[in-house]
């Protein structure tokens, strides 16, 4: 079944998925998705639901934190009897999401998934959604049913016009933290947080991560001095061409 968008006449429905990764003695939580959702909610009427996969106690805590920050509701998914990898998680998310109504699906980008950003994009793919990663900023689009997203590339940004329903993996904004509010905390500790157990019948993982790379540091530009106007123009054109801008 295709997920269907409400093509938000009034309220945009956003679902944020997050998967927790257990490290030695702590749990890595990814809030980039919910932060992107909250930023968008500040610009337009939206409702945010978070779906967190992890161990029950930690996942409930992440849902509560998300609601405290501004999400509206949340659910926990527990995977049982499976060898957890990105594919298995994506499959579980997409199975769950098939029956949900949403316009935008969001995940984080870096802190989980061994930094490969796979789970969200895979889930988006399984649901047949237009998907994009490294999304820095989201705005409502020019026409209804469209979103405008800013995608960070190595050396530039790309502005995407995307039709909803769609899936974005959002980048974190550590420079502009979103704080918990008192009404948020009150809501987080009064709402019901359903815990759904998915029995995966001993499924095996399908993904082997060979290697992963983060976006590199942006390089400083080149400064051309003591060069003729013509030479400078040529150099600029060459640089533009080499970077596939032209």
């Amino acid at each position: 079944m295709e997920p269907h968008s409400s093509i938000y006449q009034s309220t945009m429905e956003i679902i944020v998925i997050a998967k927790q990764v257990k490290m030695a003695d702590s749990v890595k939580c990814d809030f980039a998705g919910v932060e992107a959702a909250i930023r968008l909610k500040r610009k337009t009427d939206a409702r945010i639901k978070v779906v967190v996969m992890g161990e029950e106690k930690d996942a409930i805590a992440q849902v509560r934190d998300s609601i405290s920050m501004g999400a509206d509701s949340g659910t926990v998914l527990l995977l049982e009897n499976a060898e957890i990898d990105s594919w298995i998680c994506a499959k579980a998310f997409s199975d769950y999401l098939k029956n949900e109504n949403f316009d935008l699906l969001l995940s984080g980008s870096f802190p989980i998934d061994a930094d490969t950003i796979q789970t969200g994009l895979l889930a988006g793919n399984m649901l047949g959604l237009a998907s994009a990663s490294h999304i820095e900023d989201i705005d409502t689009g020019e026409a209804s049913g469209l979103l405008k997203a800013k995608k960070r590339m190595e050396d530039r940004v790309q502005i995407l016009d995307v039709k909803m329903p769609c899936m974005f993996a959002a980048l974190p904004h550590p420079e502009a933290p979103i704080y918990k509010t008192v009404p948020g905390i009150n809501r987080a500790y009064s709402v019901d947080i359903p815990v759904i157990k998915l029995d995966l019948n001993d499924q095996k993982g399908k993904i082997k991560v060979m290697d992963s790379f983060k976006i590199g540091e942006r390089k400083r530009g080149k400064c051309l001095t003591a060069i003729s106007t013509e030479g400078a123009a040529k150099e600029i054109i060459n640089t533009i061409a080499a970077n596939h801008i032209l």
């Binding site: 933290p177 704080y179 918990k180 509010t181 008192v182 009150n186």
Partner: protein, 379 residues
């Protein structure tokens, strides 16, 4: 008996801590030096619901209780004791004065702005010749037709230059002394009301403390809060709540300095080892840790006594005495343990030591707290 904060309180505490560490800590040294109050940050705190914590939503509060509020004052004061007191005065002294005695209509008019953190409230009781002996006020409020006319000078008013709302205590019947004292709400900008000298202080330098001057200042009859002649009682009740705020401020200052010292002792090396390996310093820290924990239980208990409707005058006085003495002791020891660096601005503890001193003085000096506590012992 339960010594554990529940999950929701822990979440609230963690949230205020995160805000304080991220937003208040940067610039705290500069604000102290320049005597500048971060009003925008206070408003931001308000917009997230952290200012009106102990009050009902219909008055602009966020529906928590006094323990939530004490936890917030504590977290803020770990980093910035100036904001700690400004917040506490607006909530306990201004807010407490109004909420304890005003009519419903007055509460709805005078509280939401302050409880939502959009503006600050101040409390005007002390006068040059009426400090510990607050009954010695000489500022008058003379009834003329449907107005009161205020004349006199209040000194040392926290938030004075910044506040929009003032709880002012003045004599409606001067011949009765303390029994002739009444409480009024005064708005900033009322003709005849001006801000006098702004104090240049030893500590809490970012907080703004000033005189309030009343020269034939006319306020409407409807600005009388509660009954004429009950002002002294209202002031003492507001101060009971305020002392919980000051206790939490002292606790926060002590904890802030303690943590800086703890980290310093682990990283500073002399004689070839980190200095905490000297038993003298480690034992000193053990003692301070106990002092802080005692202080914490006393202020949390006083806050819960107030929230849960038990008498809290004596618990608040005890908490104020113990917590503020802990603040002074811990900060003084912290400066010593940091050696020369402790004396320098950038290590924070010297500011905390200057800030700690005032907590032993305002909202009733610690001698006055002993008067209150011993008074109950020998009734």
């Amino acid at each position: 008996m339960n010594f554990q904060l529940d999950e929701k309180r822990l979440a609230l505490q963690a949230a205020v801590r995160e805000f304080a560490q991220n937003e208040l800590a940067p610039g705290v040294i500069e604000r102290d030096e320049a005597s500048e109050y971060p009003l925008e940050l206070y408003k931001k705190l308000g917009s997230m619901g952290y200012v009106g914590l102990p009050y009902e939503e219909k008055y602009g509060g966020s529906g928590g209780d006094y323990l939530d509020y004490a936890l917030a004052v504590e977290e803020i004061s770990k980093v910035d004791a100036s904001m700690g007191i400004s917040y506490s005065v607006a909530m306990s002294l201004y807010g407490g004065s109004i909420i304890n005695a005003a009519t419903e209509e007055q509460k709805l008019e005078f509280l939401p702005d302050v409880f939502s953190g959009k503006s600050l409230g101040a409390f005007g009781l002390t006068e040059p010749n009426a400090g510990s002996d607050a009954g010695g006020c000489v500022t008058t409020a003379e009834k003329k037709g449907d107005k009161y006319v205020l004349n006199g000078l209040k000194c040392f008013n926290t938030n004075g230059p910044l506040a929009d709302h003032f709880a002012v205590y003045a004599l409606t019947q001067p011949e009765l002394g303390a029994k002739g004292l009444s409480l009024f709400h005064v708005k900033k900008g009322t003709p005849g009301f001006s801000i006098g000298k702004i104090e240049n202080k030893m500590g809490i330098r970012a907080a703004q403390v000033s005189e309030l001057i009343f020269e034939n200042c006319e306020i409407p009859e409807s600005a009388l809060i509660g009954e004429e002649g009950k002002g002294f009682k209202y002031a003492m009740k507001a101060l009971d709540g305020g002392r919980i705020g000051v206790a939490a401020q002292g606790l926060g200052i002590a904890e802030g300095a303690f943590e800086i010292a703890r980290k310093y002792l682990m990283t500073r090396e002399q004689f070839g080892k980190p200095i905490y390996r000297n038993q003298h310093l480690a034992f000193k820290m053990a003692e301070l840790e106990c002092e802080i924990e005692m202080a914490k239980y006393m202020v949390y208990k006083a806050a819960l006594d107030k929230s849960e409707g038990r008498p809290y005058t004596i618990p608040a006085a005890k908490a104020k005495l113990v917590c503020t003495n802990a603040a002074m002791h811990v900060t003084t020891e912290a400066v010593q343990m940091l050696g020369g660096n402790g004396f320098m601005r950038e290590y924070h503890v010297e500011r905390m030591m200057r800030d700690a001193k005032i907590t032993q003085i305002y909202e009733g000096t610690n001698e006055i707290q002993k008067l209150v506590i011993s008074g109950a012992l020998f009734k």
